[in-house]
Assembly symmetry: C2
Homo-oligomer: 345 residues x 2
Amino acid sequence: MTNKQTQFPIAVIGSGPAGLAAANTLLALGHQPVIFEKEKITGGKLSRWHQLFPGFISAAEIQEQLIGPLKKASVKISTETEVKTMKPDSGGLEIETASGEKIIAKGAVWASGYTEFDARRKEEYGYGLYKNVLTSADVEEMLAKDGKLPFDSADVKRIGILHCVGSRDEKVGNTYCSKVCCICAVKQAIEMKKLYPSAEVFNFYMDLRLFGKGYEELYREAQMDWQVNFIRGRVSELAEDQQGKIRMKTEDTLTGVPMKMTLDFVILMVGMEGKRFSFLSENKNTDGSDFISYPENFTGENQTALPNVMVAGACKGPSTIVDAMNDGKSAALALHQYLISQAEK
Amino acid sequence: MTNKQTQFPIAVIGSGPAGLAAANTLLALGHQPVIFEKEKITGGKLSRWHQLFPGFISAAEIQEQLIGPLKKASVKISTETEVKTMKPDSGGLEIETASGEKIIAKGAVWASGYTEFDARRKEEYGYGLYKNVLTSADVEEMLAKDGKLPFDSADVKRIGILHCVGSRDEKVGNTYCSKVCCICAVKQAIEMKKLYPSAEVFNFYMDLRLFGKGYEELYREAQMDWQVNFIRGRVSELAEDQQGKIRMKTEDTLTGVPMKMTLDFVILMVGMEGKRFSFLSENKNTDGSDFISYPENFTGENQTALPNVMVAGACKGPSTIVDAMNDGKSAALALHQYLISQAEK
């Protein structure tokens, strides 16, 4: 039994969850995927995460499950290779990398992922200036690397976690919700209580968007078992005092009470942003974001302006890992069907 | 070029978005799917919806896009056929229907969908007793059928929309969030303003879980362009007055102000519930819900206790239509890979 459709490669751009799932799917359908990854290492953001919500599953483990079958099948992964443009070619698709290399492929799955919101843009929070202000991404990386944060347990009395940094914020131009920060904040709050059992942890949120399986349960666990505090309020300002501690100003919007609090360190839950790609200009988004737009027709949401290029994952908008993976599979299937329809002509 | 893996059928249980997407995928992969649908008509809940969030796309149109290719390929769809049990058989899988028919299949995708929360269980809202209390599902069905509701425009001054009916409510045993009701409520609020331009529309919510693409934008549109009111508060009671109008008691939890209001009619945003299946008992959920559980390992979330049965869509938990479709594709792929691995043995 054979299932080979073509010996010509299919390009997969990005080796995050969407790209890896797409590559695995293409492989299962008898295609020969080749992966282009602009970073030095594979896995996308997953390569820097520690444990995933809501079940605290190891990010490295998931990455291995996604990469393992590709390695076994000797799928070529070119790291430090940024794809700059794609254009139709008589053979299918001409792909040009940043270094000027040109590749002809039958088609491509574009899964370039998202960019973290640059927390320095929220000047009022002092990220990059105050050493005790971290981002959620910093926390993941530190925990993945060392299993701890650079604060002495004895000194830490109060930790603040600020939701929606760079999300739902017209001042920075992002009106959309980044979808996963709320549940990531709940997970990190529990992790902070594990690292600093005697510290109080305060989450400052606007809405608790705990929409997924096990999310609400984790929120309850955070409250009931770990005594994490949740305060509805948007923090207006952070300032560093002479001891390096962080003074915070907010208002509890459920009670209307203005609050001031001194925190030992603060975690900013940074949202997701997109990136614009010139050759996908017809996929320019109308909502002002730099995510790649797609037809909102429910059945063709992986399609781009180029018929043999499908788009998948968080480059289309904020996404959970499982949703990005399923979207990667969906894109690979759409490409498979397109290529078969062309071959039958 | 041929892609036929087997001439033996694959059973797809359920003809909602997940099942139809799974059947289309199986077809594209060279399998012969047969669909079992317990209702009289195909499409699952989609067959009763009017327009979908956030883009007001016609539900009938999406259904046609999903069913069209199956009809063209003469895929057999057995309506009024409820699958009762499945068990391993030497040929693969023995499927027994409620009428006692037995079918041998190579494998199956279980996509049986969700059940609407029965609003009568929230006795304090009087659904089924007060004629001016509808559910969100009633509204969709009425709009799909007639394009209107049975209330005279001149009489309607105030409309109430209650979020989280049967969701995030320990009293009815559902602690989880049903994910799509918030955005559906925003969509229906706009639809009410279109039908009753001079009426005031009040949405009573706990958190606004507008996590998806275009959701936040639709919420803004509802506020800015349609003057829909959003009040944070859980409604404690509805009562019918002598004119059939609805008296409502709540508290604005942002200001702490108790509120009483008379409404011409009320829409209850009913959540999603699962259904338990005895033969999937190893997939019993630990969160107390009747959704089918699955391994939370990110890469194998379509698997069940039976190796040739994959599970997909809203029977696993609340889901959007696109996510259910992508999960259906993912399940079909997982089954395809399993069958290939068996054939290679």
